[in-house]
Symmetry: C2
Amino acid sequence: MRVAVIGMGLIGGSVLRALAAAGHKVVGFDNDPATRGTARTASAEAPPSARWQIAPSVSAAVADAELCIVAVPLPALEIVLDELTGRGFGGLITDVTSVKVPVLELAEQYLGGSQRLAGFVGGHPMAGRETSGFTAADPRLFDGCAWVLGLEPGRTMLGDWLDLADLVTGLGARAVPATAADHDRAVAAISHVPHLVASAVAEQAAAPLAAALGAGSFRDGTRVAATRSELVAAMCGGNADAVRPVLDAVIDSLTAARDALDARNPIAALRPWLAPGHDVRSAWPPVAGEPLPMRPTVNALLDLGRAGGWITGVSKDRTTVTAVRPD
Amino acid sequence: MRVAVIGMGLIGGSVLRALAAAGHKVVGFDNDPATRGTARTASAEAPPSARWQIAPSVSAAVADAELCIVAVPLPALEIVLDELTGRGFGGLITDVTSVKVPVLELAEQYLGGSQRLAGFVGGHPMAGRETSGFTAADPRLFDGCAWVLGLEPGRTMLGDWLDLADLVTGLGARAVPATAADHDRAVAAISHVPHLVASAVAEQAAAPLAAALGAGSFRDGTRVAATRSELVAAMCGGNADAVRPVLDAVIDSLTAARDALDARNPIAALRPWLAPGHDVRSAWPPVAGEPLPMRPTVNALLDLGRAGGWITGVSKDRTTVTAVRPD
């Protein structure tokens, strides 16, 4: 496939490298000239079969592309979409941001028009790292990672979805079908709220004695509090509608724990409070069941995603996918 | 030193092995006959210079001991203290539980009498693991770990404290001087509340789609939610007085984050909210400064502990300790 990658930070850079290594014809662009330079040098150092091109502009990058992967932060996404539609780009567009409802709304604004949203599938590879920038890019970043591909009943073209599922499973990722709304609720629970909570907990260890005593539970429980605040603010604030109810549920749950501490026997009162969280975490990560062939309809794919399943491959003729469900 | 270790779970078993490997004469006891059998077999398999004895009772274990390390859960501690004082044990006693004010109160009840609390120093090695039991015991468990040793102005005998500091630094641990109250507040912040929060967050990922998307931030942020609920309940409920204000502070902080999400510009409102947690976590773990000799007075030691420092060694004549402060 001929692919343009716009934005070459950690995710964009890794996509660029992974696609090139998988034999795709890849052209990259980044607004930052230094990043373009670094990426150009890195290509020259890659094996000849796994090199990529660097373009001087978005227009030049997508000139010959069938697919454009927009790997820029949410605030910059609109600018790139505007540029792509302005020059009449006719290929498939996807993104990699951590929030999908606002991106879907942007896509409808720029690509909608008709009932169908042809040429657009939102994407989100669940592959964060504390490091950032092209120098941290890793072609193996997506190996075994969940890569959500947005599927809106009656809007997304199934063929577009399957093309992208074929591409990302080729990089080793698990293609997870989900609506933008379902995605945003899920990532609020497993990523955005955990980032907020990590910050609130880290704040409590400001005293030097506490810092000196911090061990495993503090290290792991607060690890993501070291993420750059601008990124966390953009991620959580950009998904505010989905983050609010999850954060409310966490505050309610902690308030119940607080009440348990006030009970005549706090130890006995805490035990049942701890059970639900213990049970969910002990059953995680889910164990993958047997891969099975499935006929890919929009409803079958969304059912699979809601059941915690994913796709590991798409047949050449697009009539069958390999589906995995948790055991 | 001749040491008795009562209770041979993960911590007691590791202390037993570490002390034996360091050349001390060690006798172990556990209420569970199977654990005694396992520990006896393990001794026979250890190098001849690093073996230990297994006693059939607490009395037999401490018969010849200068120091008794009580490594049993908090509820069993009173029974052992009762047995030790009942048989007139005259040596030094320490414990390894994660809460120190309730233990200090027990010790005062059983060993107090006079103004001074001779023969008792509370202890807490900050070396948890998800595994438990003697089979998980590891003589290197305390290498580089903080081992709090309780120091109560006007109560603890400085000589007792230095004897224990000498012993635990000999196992590679950092001996941290702290009052029971300061300890309990610090561990509420860096361990107990993080356990409660992990459970509240894990609970939010009950939906299969959320579980399928869980990646690094969920994995690390909720890791300790898989700890056995009885242990977490005993730990947090047993330290309820110190846990309450920290949990209140976390709930207040998350409520402020919730308000930020309701702001006209949630991204801008979240940024300053995230700063304190980010700053604390980015500065953690503290970097150790140059080890320096220090004359060990109770006040100098407590100042060192409050400043986030620790002891790495004690001179033979007990007049000098090697103190490390964070840089």
